[in-house]
């Protein structure tokens, strides 16, 4: 218990993971490390198994073989060390924002007053103050995802798993989200695993981009954009290294796009 965080620099490791659906090999001998406190993107064309990998790490899907560890503990199912942000938000439509944000804590048996005060803090953090009593259908897509994010943050897990979290929100909101995410990575001492199919998004937000190729899925390349990571968020998209990496990833992926 005393050393819950583990010794290694890797919050999550994936070792020789295979995943078969019947005869279909979704993941083949996949190994990847996720450095602690950083954001790693899983990037690839659709059908490359990036969401499958994320759900195996989450403990929502069992791997056919291989090992996944979180803080050096093997993953056997979902656990409090990981929190999930869903592509379609997965909010309770019958519950207001406050209850939705506090729902992770509610399931963990935290008392009502305590979980609501924690939820209030994260509602403020994601900029939804004043919407505590609104229902999901009264919110825009971007606001709903803020609720999903606040829910994942409020359980204070060390690893945040995000499954294409911004794909269902409009482009402007998406850019704002990406900037907020950079701040989050900087200030919250958490490890982020981020699934996306957008090359620009992956390069923009990531400390490390793992490129997955399909049929069967494997990691083809790991890229670490370093030069512009500490620059101002507004100048990243003009940075030559950013543009180079985007170009490089596109040229290696384009053969897989029809």
């Amino acid at each position: 218990m005393s050393d819950k965080r583990g010794d290694s620099d890797h919050a999550v490791t994936v070792r020789n993971v295979y995943k078969n659906y019947g005869d279909v090999e979704a993941l083949q001998d996949l190994s990847l490390d996720f450095p602690r406190g950083q954001l790693t993107s899983l990037l690839g064309p659709s059908g490359c198994g990036k969401t499958t990998l994320l759900k195996i790490i989450a403990g929502l899907l069992p791997a056919t073989s291989g090992e996944v560890t979180v803080n050096d503990q093997p993953v056997t199912g979902p656990g409090p060390d990981r929190a999930f942000v869903f592509q379609d938000f997965a909010l309770l439509p019958w519950a207001n924002v406050l209850r939705n944000v506090a729902f992770g804590l509610e399931l963990r048996g935290v008392s009502r007053s305590e979980r609501e005060s924690i939820a209030e803090k994260y509602i403020a953090d994601v900029g939804l103050t004043g919407f505590e009593n609104s229902y999901p259908h009264e919110l825009s897509g971007g606001m709903r995802q803020r609720v999903g994010l606040a829910r994942a943050l409020s359980v204070d897990s060390q690893v945040l798993l995000m499954d294409e979290p911004f794909s269902a929100v409009d482009e402007q909101t998406r850019r704002k989200f990406q900037e907020d995410l950079l701040n989050l990575v900087k200030h919250e001492n958490k490890t982020f695993i981020f699934v996306t199919h957008s090359i620009e998004e992956a390069v923009y937000v990531s400390d490390q981009v793992a490129i997955l190729l399909p049929r069967p899925s494997r990691v083809s390349e790991v890229i670490r954009p370093e030069g512009f990571r500490h620059k101002d968020v507004n100048s990243i998209r003009r940075d030559p290294e950013y543009l180079d990496i985007v170009d490089r990833i596109w040229s290696s992926l384009r053969t897989y796009v029809e």
Binding site: P78, D88, F103, L107
Partner: protein, 250 residues
Amino acid sequence: MKVFGYQLPGMSSLILWGVLWEIAGRLEITFFLPPLSAIFATLLEIGTTKVFLKALADTGYAFFFGAFSAIAIGIPVGILMGKSRLLDELLLPWVNMFLSAPLTALVPVLMVLFGFGMQAIIITTALFAIWIIVLNSRAGVMQINRSLVEMARSFGASQKDAFLKVYFWAALPEILGGVRIGFIRAVKGVIIGQLLISIVGFGALFELYSSNFLMKHFWAVLIVLFTIAFAIAEFLAHLERKVEYYAARR
């Protein structure tokens, strides 16, 4: 609905049919159809008699016990069937069979099993109501958004919490739809039970009035029954509309 630019109040069609009924009754086309006003007069007359109130109480008792046991058993069974493939495979053929089976034909068997009393009537009522409640609850659970289920799992929900805090609420619009239809079927069930098993309650009144050709009395009881069934169905439909806003957004 609008007619010639006027907004008609709800249930205007009932007024139209009521007027037609009154006219047909006064024309004395058939003894089967006395004027509506005479029926209401009879209703006021018998509505306060001990016999009528006793019948209402008997029928209400059997109805509510039957309908509520159908809900109490039907909803959990339906939810479990929706969640467990095994249970579903085992039970679904039976549920479908009983849903379409002529349950009236089963009533004599129930009489052999449970006697001629209130118990058999309650069971008949429940049998009429339960199958659609099971099927709708099952359908409600089966269409729950996958990511809601994964959300509950990923935040470590216990089985009990997942049921009470996610599955039940996510399936609620369908469950309420099932309960509404189940209640309407229970009205049928309780009357059939009271006609066939032991002649009590409204069943006895129907029997008494129709065999003596007291059509005004017969219709009066039927109108009371219709009003009660309609009120219950409308109340449940109102609840359904309250949760409908999220039915499309799960």
